[in-house]
């Protein structure tokens, strides 16, 4: 198989990349860590479902229901395959990473976290992987503690070791890739340490699955979460994977249709996995749209995705480093960072910077990136962040750079 895809070709599949914004400038979309754009294949899959097959699923016998149910359940198989999971019953569809983590906090956490226990996370987590555990810790009288990081954004695993020695840690929950620094977490080592200590591990894969090959079975963690909308898929779909024995032992989360076996007035039994955790009408059309996103990524290949992003990141780091007064966060080691670059530019506040370069059609994110704990650690109020995906080009990075230079003039740097 020919594995070189041209970005020119890929761009043709993304109609929004033809958009002109503000002063009729071509859109330069560099906020892919927040959400990615969608190829026409995904958009069409959703339209096609509503145009030709729309029906509720699982419970009806008529033709449309059969087609919709089959299409929906096939996505479960596809997702399992895509992340290297053998048992489709372990794939639970949710709204996104945030819901997946909350599901674990409620359904597993409330059963397994007791007073005095410790939950560990890291200083560079997204709020989605901090706040649910703060809520749980408060409810159960447990503590949430942090694995610190060094100034290059690499975790200091000694902190983990020290806490593990207390024997009180019940869960370690870390992101596979930081959405601010791009740091690729050394999850292999963390999982090994935790396994030895008999501690459960949740991996937040919101930033890893879209950007590199991930085999969850090989990782050996206990829970894994990610979002479709960050990997070409629609909004409103995410995946929670968990080991079957854990899902089986867990109490249900939401109660309602589809998750039950038999409902009586005063007692109820639960459906098989994964349905026990999928109460109510799911986001059927978008799960089917997600399928087209996975097809797209499989077609171009996750190795290509990663390679392309390394190339762009290398180029961008070089260009950005040459701008006077621009401070870049995170490691320079390209093998240990994804296509995410956070920076601050002299004394220009990131919001002002984003507004100025938006005039040139450049879309970057500014702010705390839902990582205020990290902002405190970096001792900044905010950063600017450019993040790349399969359709971005070096030319676009050049536009970013020249726009930054214009900002410097505006702010008389």
């Amino acid at each position: 198989m020919q594995t070189t895809f041209s970005v020119e070709h890929i761009r043709k599949d993304f109609p929004i990349l033809q958009r002109r914004v503000r002063n009729d400038r071509p859109l330069v979309y560099l906020d892919n860590a927040a959400t990615t754009q969608k190829p026409v294949q995904v958009i069409n899959a959703i339209s096609d479902f509503y145009t030709n097959h729309n029906s509720n699923i699982h419970r009806a016998v008529y033709a449309l229901a059969e087609e919709a149910t089959e299409a929906f359940e096939e996505v479960r198989d596809k997702v399992a395959r895509f992340i290297g999971i053998k048992d489709r019953q372990e794939i639970v569809f949710v709204r996104g990473t945030t819901e997946a983590i909350n599901l674990v906090a409620y359904a597993w956490g409330r059963q397994n976290i007791a007073s005095g226990d410790i939950i560990m996370t890291t200083e560079y987590e997204h709020h989605s992987n901090i706040v649910p555990w703060q809520l749980l810790a408060k409810e159960r009288g447990a503590r949430l503690e942090y694995i610190g990081m060094d100034d290059q954004g690499t975790l200091i695993l000694d902190h983990l070791d020290r806490y593990l020695q207390t024997g009180r840690v019940k869960l370690v929950t870390v992101s596979h890739m930081s959405n601010v620094l791009g740091t690729i977490t050394d999850v292999d080592t963390i999982i090994k340490k935790c396994k030895n200590a008999g501690v459960r591990v949740l991996i937040d894969g919101a930033q890893s699955v879209p950007h590199m090959k991930v085999n969850v079975q090989e990782l050996g963690c206990d829970f894994f979460a990610f979002s479709a909308h960050k990997m070409l898929g629609p909004t409103g779909v995410g995946v929670l994977w968990a080991k079957k024995e854990l899902l089986e032992a867990m109490a249900p989360f939401h109660g309602g249709g589809d998750m039950i076996r038999e409902v009586h007035k005063y007692e109820t039994t639960w459906n098989d996995l994964p349905y026990k955790f999928e109460a109510g009408t799911p986001n059927i059309a978008d799960v089917i749209g997600f399928s087209a996103a996975i097809d797209y990524l499989e077609k171009i290949g996750m190795d290509f995705v990663r390679k392309h992003e390394i190339e762009l990141t290398k180029y961008a780091l070089e260009k950005l480093s040459s701008i006077k007064g621009l401070k870049i966060y995170g490691t320079p080691d390209l093998s240990r960072r994804g296509g995410v670059i956070s920076f601050n530019f002299a004394d220009i506040h990131p919001h002002d910077l984003a507004t100025i370069i938006d005039e040139d059609g450049v879309a970057i994110r500014s702010g705390h990136h839902c990582a205020q704990v990290l902002m405190e650690r970096l001792d900044v109020a905010a950063t600017s962040r450019a993040s790349f995906y399969i359709y971005n080009t070096k030319d676009e990075i050049d536009v970013l750079v020249s726009s930054l230079n214009r900002a410097a003039r505006v702010f008389k740097l």
Binding site: H58, V61, A63, E66, E70, D258, R261, E262, D272
Partner: protein, 146 residues
């Protein structure tokens, strides 16, 4: 996605009104219950075992014609058979008997609910009463049915 036009032939309609081996056995050696969470069909199977043979089998429950006829055929197949042979019963035997090989996916659960109940029941009996270490295979088979 095959059609279902030919499903409701005489035999199935007949079984749905007059199922075989319908009823309850007092003090059964094996009894097991399950239901289909999607449609609410629910089946109880009862068996008497003597000398490693299923000497009697009956079932109770509510279900559609497909479910009732498949359960009827299953109980007919099981009655009098050695447990080792009962263990070997496969879904195709039942579906074949009734001409249901091409049943649509969503109805296949109706057809196989009783086989699932049978296999779980046997598993419980063998693993529980007889401490049969090989019983786990039955459980896996049952859970793989649909």
């Amino acid at each position: 996605m095959s059609g279902n036009a030919d499903i409701y032939h005489e035999m199935i309609v007949e079984y749905s009104r007059h199922p075989s081996n319908y009823g309850k056995i007092e003090n059964p050696d094996i009894s097991y219950h399950d239901s289909n969470p999607l449609c609410g069909d629910s089946i109880d199977i009862f068996m008497k075992v003597q000398d490693n043979k299923v000497t009697d089998i009956k079932f109770q429950g509510r279900g559609c014609a497909i479910c009732m006829s498949c359960t009827s055929v299953l109980t007919e197949l099981v009655k009098g058979k050695a447990i080792d042979d009962v263990k070997k019963i496969q879904k195709d035997e039942i579906l074949g008997e009734l001409g249901l090989q091409n049943l649509q996916a969503v109805r296949i659960k109706c057809a196989l609910l009783s086989l699932k109940v049978l296999k779980y029941g046997l598993y419980t009996y063998l693993a529980g009463k007889l401490k049969d270490a090989n019983a786990d295979a039955l459980k896996a088979e049952a859970s793989a049915l649909y």
